[in-house]
Every structure is written in C-alpha cells, then in structure tokens.
Amino acid sequence: MNQLDITGRLLPDTACDEMILNNHALQFQPAIQINHTTIHCTRCASDCEKAEAQLPDETYFCYQCFNLGRLDSSMKLVHLPGINQFEVVHPVLTWKGRLTELQQKCSDEVVKAFQEHQNKLLWAVTGAGKTEISFAGIAWALAQGLRVGIASPRVDVCVELYPRYQAAFANTSMILLHGKSEEPYQYRQLTICTTHQLLRFQDAFDVLIIDEVDAFPYANNDSLQMAAKRSVKKHGSLLLMTATPSPKLRQQYQVSYLPLRFHRHLLPKIKIHFCFNWKRKIYAGKIPQKVIFKVLQKIERQQRFLLFVPRIKDLQVVDEILSKKYHGEKCWKTVYSADEARMEKVQAMRDEKVLFLITTTILERGVTFPGIDVIIFGGDERVFSVASLVQIAGRVGRKASRPTGDVDCYIGSYSSNVAEARKQIAEMNRKGKALG
C-alpha cells in the first residue's frame, strides 16, 4: 500500500498500514458521531438508531453501510486530498466513430462545461448515444492529466460501460469497481464504479459522470447523492446523464437536450392492450390468454424480446405457464436482482443463446440487446414508474439496421403512469421530428 492508494479516498484507519498513517498530510475524522438517541455515520451520512446500532461493548456501528466494511465508533476515517499523478499517453481518444450533428452540439456543450468547472445535465432520449457524446469531454479531461470518474447506480450498466470506455481510451489506465468484483482498488486515472463505491471517495475526481441518475438506488437516496458530491473536487465538475430526468433535476442543473436517437428514427410508441383482471389471474397462478398468445407468436417468428413482469414472484408463475403452453425446447430464462446467475443470464441473452428473458425492472435501462421487442405485463402496477416505462420502451429499436420494434403493454387500467409515459414519448417524438 502506498500514498496513492489513499489519495482521494475515505478509508477506515484499520484498513491502512502503520507506515501510511504517519503521514502528516492525512486528515482524520471520527467514523461515527454519537448523538443523543442516534449515531451519525461519517461515511454514508445516515443516522442509525442507537439501540439497534449498539455492540455489546458500548461501541456503535453503522448498519446502513456495513456492506462496505463495518465502521464502528472506535475507528477513524483517513483521507488524503486528491493528487493527480498520471502519465498521459497520446492519442487519448482512440475511438474512431463519428458523431452526428446533433450529438456534436451536445458534446461541445459537455466539453465547455468541464472546461468551465460547471455541473451539467445531459438529457438525451434512450439510444441517443449518451456514452459517445461524453467521450470528447472525458478525452479533454484525461489529456489535461485530470482524474475522471464514471459512476452508475446499476452494476449491469457499469459492466457494460467498462469495455466500451476501454476501447475508446485504450491508452488510459482504468479500473472497474463494484460490490461483486474481486479486483482490489487501484489508483487509476479513469475509475468506473457503482454509485455505492463513491462512498469510499472524497475530493477524488476532477470530472465525475453519473450515468442513469434517475435510477434506483441513486434517485431519492440522500446518502449516495451526498457521496457523489463529496467525491468531486472543489473545482471539479459533475455531469449527469439520463433519458428521463425528474422535473427537480431539470430545474437544478443546466440542461443539454437531445430529443432524437442517433439513427434519426423516432422512439417506438407504447401500444396498450387491456386485460382487466390480470392481477386476479396472477394471484390464481394464471396469466391472460392475450399475453400467452403474444409470447407464442414471437417465439414462432423467432423474434428476440424481453418480457417485463412487476414482481419477482411473478417470474415463476409466468415461467411455469409458458413451459406448459410451449412444447418446444425451452428458449428463455428468468432474471431478477438477487439472482446468482444474473450476469451469466444477461450474457446468454447478449450472445443470442436464449430467445428471450423474463425479468423485473432491473433490466429496464443501460442494457442494449440489438433488434429486440418488449412486452410489459402489468404495466399499470406501481413499480413501473413513468421513467421505467419510458426506459423499457427505449430498449427497442436501438440499432440503425432495425430502428423500430414493438412495445406491447398489458394493463388492467389506464393508470397515470402509463398515460404520462406515452405522453412523454409523444412529446419527445414531436421535438425530434422538428429537428430531423
């Protein structure tokens, strides 16, 4: 372990070597502040009930962030203000693609924001090429020898982004950090990580990009939002990217707006189909005929697709019924958040080893399967928020060779979420049409 391993980080003193701790530049702060009835964790900024957080020897631990390694009140957090010590190898940007005119405009705005140390929100529809738009800005920062972080709330998104950035910045040292990776932390110029990992950073990045800012668990999580702000240096800039920003985000940040996909085709519309009693049916272990028919039809045509269901327990019901109804070889898998084989199953879909996946909202964003359709079963359920529905519809038609596709949504009632999502898509298409 050397000095570079703790620069820009916020680590418990028990994880550091004696040698390092003698450094005078280090800043120490208590890991846990003990208040009257609660304790306050310095790392995740959450308050825990004293009674629950107590250990038998009168020390307290934070039960909100213990998955990152338990902090207790006997520990101190060590921090060394961020140093940039990187060798810049030219050319920084090894990406050979070209941006469209509209993308170029957004890209220029991003570079300008980075140069002027400003925060920005990049609001571009699904499939607009947000990652590519960010390249120029990152290349500028890397060429200046600045430290860059790219974070996303979703592991899947990070895993998918890593090879893309690796290809685009082949001469830059980078690392991928998330809870499931075995690789230990290393000091690198470009860090790609989940937003949870940002809790371990302080004053680290000159430029931090958060992809899919409106996704769970980052949205509405004060602790993660605090961590994101804390991990950026005082004069650094923060770039948020999403296709579905909340009105609050749109107000808080300067917006770069791109309402048209890179292939200049419009977003697919959500087609609604009514099944008035789908909820009652699924409780009884059945699903509506219409849905079964649709699925069988797509299997017959060998059309690849994703089938979204509202809850994890619905996965099994749908899986069993389809097994009964379809007599051929099983050509699908079910995926949910706590699934141990989640990564492998998604990879199998990517490799076209399975025809479709039955999944919950975890695959709503950040993943690209070329040429797929989407079926949403129970779209009026509350878990399908407006942003989820727009994102799910955005999985379709992401390839220039097949820019359209079907989004079929089966609902019991025309809920405000479905209506709002359809309205948003129509609105963006109207603006897109005006541009293209």
Partner: protein, 224 residues
C-alpha cells in the same frame, strides 16, 4: 414501523384486534414472514449420533470414529446444516459484523437447553474481540444465562483460515478462568458454539472442562 433485519423489507406486525384485547405481551417481530420461512429448521431423519452431521445413516460418522479412537466422545446437537442461508447468515453476522442479527436463534437454542444445565459459550481471542467488538456465541445466546469461564489463548491464525488437518492437529486453544473453577464442579455442562466443522474446538473445550471436574459435557452448535 420496523424493517426486516434480514432483507430490509417492510415489516408488518399484523396487530389484530383480538390480540390487542387479549392483553398478551407484544413481542416485536424481527423478520418478515418470507425471511422467517427461509430460516425454518431442516427436517432431519438421519444424522450422526455424536456430532449431528447430516448423513444417510444413523451411525457414527468418520470424524467421530476418530475421536472415539482417541477416547474422546462428545454429543453435539446442530440446528442447521452449514450451507446456504446459514452460511450467508454467519458471513453477515460474524464476519461482516451485523450485530443486529445476533438473537435470531435465541429461542431455538433455548429450547434445547435443559433447566439444570450450565451454559458455557466458546470464547473468542482478544484480538478477534478487538476487531469484531463482540463474541458471536454469547451474542447468539442473547438473554440466556451463561458462565463465561473459558479463555481463548491468543493464536497466530484464525480457526476458519486453517486447513482441515491443521485444525485437527492443533494444540489446546483454551484456558480455564481460575476464579470460576468452583462454579463448574460436578455440573452438567452444555457448550455452545456457532459452527461445528471438525469438532476440534469443542473437543478441546470439553476435555479441559472434564479435567476440571464437571459431571458431563455435551454441546449445541448453530450449524454443522
């Protein structure tokens, strides 16, 4: 409103009017119904008569035969198999240190202890204590009364990091607290530990207690 200690989900106490009118004491739930069902005790027809290992026949298992050859026998009862959910539980409770999970099995362990028995938990070393801030075994006992009369000698390597052979050939890892020796004389003792892997720990502890004049020793572990 509380959250489930295991999955963090919403915890519905389901207070019914007839319960309120019954004036029975209200014991708050710690797990939601779904997680409660994850921790149901496995049905066991066949297991080793001595150590409680789950196996195909109701005989002594290989390890226990070895112990018997060394003229040592110890009857152990294990609640669960060291597998799946229990492995996950111990990982989270013991190694990650989520002390909120400490008393999940208190009532189950309590039901296995006889009224006239003296409960002695397996101790942890000072260095473990310093790092973990609790003894996972006494934590598991919760409000059950126990006598902490064993002291763990400091060791170079944690038990769970050693290989199987290293463990079996280890030296006596415990000492007895001399001040409490008088309290254990001719008592029926039940040792408590979290995991029974090779049985070395428990056999050494039992041997030490026998040398100090207890009437009988048996043991209970959370997992085997």
């Amino acid at each position: 409103m509380d959250n489930c200690r295991w999955c963090g989900g919403f915890l519905n106490s389901n207070l019914k009017i007839h319960f309120i009118l019954s004036f029975k004491p209200f014991i708050p739930k710690t797990l939601c119904d779904k997680c409660e069902s994850l921790f149901t005790l496995p049905s066991r027809e066949e297991s080793c008569v001595d150590c409680g290992r789950f196996q195909a026949s109701q005989k002594r298992c290989q390890d226990c035969e070895k112990w018997l050859n060394q003229k040592q026998q110890l009857n152990n009862q294990a609640l669960y198999l060291y597998h799946g959910i229990i492995k996950e539980y111990l990982e989270r409770y013991k190694f990650k240190g989520d002390y909120r999970l400490h008393s999940l099995f208190q009532t189950r362990i309590n039901s296995l202890i006889e009224a006239d028995e003296l409960v002695i938990p397996i101790p942890v070393t000072k260095s473990t204590m310093k790092q973990r801030h609790f003894n996972q075994v006494t934590g598991m006992l919760g409000e059950i009364e126990f006598l902490d009369c064993l002291v763990a000698k400091p060791k170079a390597q944690a038990q769970s990091e050693k290989g199987r052979n290293e463990r079996i050939n280890a030296q006596q890892p415990f000492e007895i607290n001399q001040k409490l020796v008088s309290k254990i004389k001719s008592q029926k003792v039940v040792l408590i530990d979290d995991v029974y892997t090779t049985g070395t720990t428990l056999h050494y502890a039992a041997q030490l207690l026998r040398e100090n004049g207890v009437q009988s020793v048996r043991s209970i572990t959370l997992a085997r």
